[in-house]
Symmetry: C4
Subunit: 236 residues, 4 copies
């Protein structure tokens, strides 16, 4: 684990090395995809697997499985959240046309907090939600990690789109702004739900679930609208 | 873990962005392949590794290993089942020529239940089969997860082929129907075996194994038939 | 986990679909590489991590770490063995020019026993070697899994090269035989070491290590020979 | 796990197989990327997840989480260290234009010690730092593994660039030397910090963190300098 000092700015900042920048970007994307795929699969480790030799095995397998419903809920919630992150990350890296040193490190920071760390708050939420003395801590911890992850995601976009200008020059300022507006509210929404968790952890968890559903549900409507428009334009 | 709202329909539904749809589809395929590869490897965690400091270590390593045969059976069964899912998923995504928002989310849902979650029922089946009071629950749980996974797989195909029409226009309705007919029975077969598990968990597990064998075994026959036909056409 | 019945022979055996066979082969290679990468990384789970709250923590961290030397040895041995398998698999799939249904299933079977399962005998060897009553079982188990893995590897090659003839037609029978001769002895060598493990588990482990070293060491010699030849041909 | 003997030197050393060497190199890079992505994600396993049934659960979740701060510190430190390794490895394999047998094995050795093994010293550092009798062992163990990893990284570069000459012939000796000078100090710096750990483990950990920060921080300056230059050249 050497903190070796490579010729770091060279491969990325050298304007003459224009051809090699695309593979660089795609390798970051592939690496990130791998981290997403592994982290989303490791979420399963948050679910306790009961054994016949466990102290509480006498309650029967059915009881042991059903009383774990909060772990299943936390698994589903985090799986879909990491999935949303992956889909958004995919969109972002399709907009970028090159990578630089700063993008690599902000991306790693984002992957660390917003993706790889998620199994920990997930397992804690699944294990402690329902414990009257500790469920507030569990739900606030879950929301706080989510908020920092969302902040880092927006920071990554802000750095790539506005600081290092890694996007295609063909993208208009208006298009950039539309994407920024669509992503910027997330940290505020999750931070608000985290604040709500202090008062009611279950309400906060319901809010986390609602975000996931809102993200997925409006689509049929949009698709229908799009089809209407296409039909209209064919008639015209 | 921000539930950020990206310009979601844009990269997929924008008809002008025709060139970018192929990489989008391939990135979903690559991500799915990663999830398949990780989930199939994590199945190994369902097998208990005895240690010399365990309470039952006095029985000897040989006894500890051989009495775990149900875990090995569950591992082999689930490994082959995930493998069949991977091979079928591979076939499905070779038929699709583009992706849309709905496909991404149905695919994630399928991966969550039909792939990533599998280590849990596998470990439970391996640990509780043979326990007279709980083996019915273990076998029904295993079959129920399998049934839902199969339903989601068929749903994914139905959405891609008939709702969003993501398949190549060159594919005839007859070819589509042939594929649908080959995939549609799976949920019903697994659901039937799950019902049988209520009466006899071992018979159900034998049925799960039989499906895997049926899937793999007829091939030599088909290959032989194919070779006969080729020989016949050469003679003609 | 549906055992869905896809149009299996179609994409592979349809001679008209010639263009799609290369991506099919490469997707099997990518999937296998993923499984290799995950299994080789999961070997780390065979190493016990001591905690200050453990019952034997009073012995001090240094003692706890050094007495685990057999686990480290088993980790290194299996890491290099999986690495050799990966390198050989890489060579094999570079020789194949297309895939068929049988290759997919034999490859999955090989991955199951020869790659994904390896962490289990590795952890068992590391934990039980040195236990006078059980180390024979541990070393024989390790060797037996290795033997079956080697048999499946050779079977995969035999199927692809001689039964389904998936290799390039440009490859001469002599070249095929050279490869077969280089791979065929492995199962016999490992089976012999497994037999030796019944008498002396440490001698068998030394033999497993020797195979790994033999595989890696002669290379400098070969490289030197190659350079001599090149120099000679330049002079001529 | 057969130690099968493939036609090893053939695909790499055969000068006539020139076209196949590029894919060979890229497959090593992809495999390494997979190992990096998995090992960096598995670091999360070093963080203990408290459960309501634990013996110390009475202290409350907040206390259990905050007293684990050393595990979080070790996780962040190792995540960034593996990230630096990945970025440097990416740079190195962009410089190489072909692979040979020696590169494959040195790369595997580096991955084994410098990447896959890292979760072990990370978990040990997180668990034992703060234990007055054992924290020196934990910090020295962490530094020693880091030193060996750094040595193997430099060895990999030295082999590829100077022994097997796998770099592009277009790269000048001066450019090679610049890269070597940027990477060579790492083992000495980490070895020095490891020696310091004998006297003060916390100072050593602060040093490990400082290396990571030094690696990441100067970049804004460099970027600013680069922008100044660009502006200057535009004016000229």
């Amino acid at each position: 684990m050497p903190a070796t000092h490579p010729p770091r700015s060279q491969p990325e900042h050298d304007p003459s090395a224009h051809r090699t920048e695309d593979p660089s970007l795609s390798r970051i994307g592939t690496f990130s995809d791998g981290v997403f795929a592994i982290a989303i699969t490791l979420l399963i480790l948050a679910i306790r697997i009961p054994h016949p030799t466990d102290a509480d095995a006498g309650q029967g397998l059915l009881t042991l499985l059903t009383q774990e419903w909060r772990s299943y809920l936390a698994f589903v919630l985090s799986f879909m959240t990491v999935g949303i992150n992956w889909a958004n990350h995919r969109v972002m890296f399709k907009i970028f046309v090159r990578a630089d040193h700063g993008l690599i490190w902000l991306n790693l920071l984002y992957l660390m907090v917003g993706v790889v760390f998620i199994p920990v708050p997930t397992a804690i939420l699944g294990a402690w939600l329902g414990d009257p003395n500790n469920q507030v801590v569990a739900a606030v911890f879950y929301g706080a990690v989510g908020t920092v992850g969302a902040v880092l995601f927006v920071l990554l976009w802000w750095y790539g789109a506005y600081v290092a200008r890694l996007t295609s020059p063909e993208l208009s300022a208006r298009q950039l702004r539309a994407i920024t507006i669509s992503w910027a509210p997330a940290p505020f929404v999750i931070a608000t739900l985290t604040a709500i968790a202090f008062a009611s952890p279950y309400l906060a968890v319901a809010g986390y679930l609602a975000i996931v559903l809102v993200y997925i549900l409006p689509v049929p409507k949009l698709v229908a609208l799009g089809q209407q428009r296409r039909r209209a334009s064919r008639r015209a």
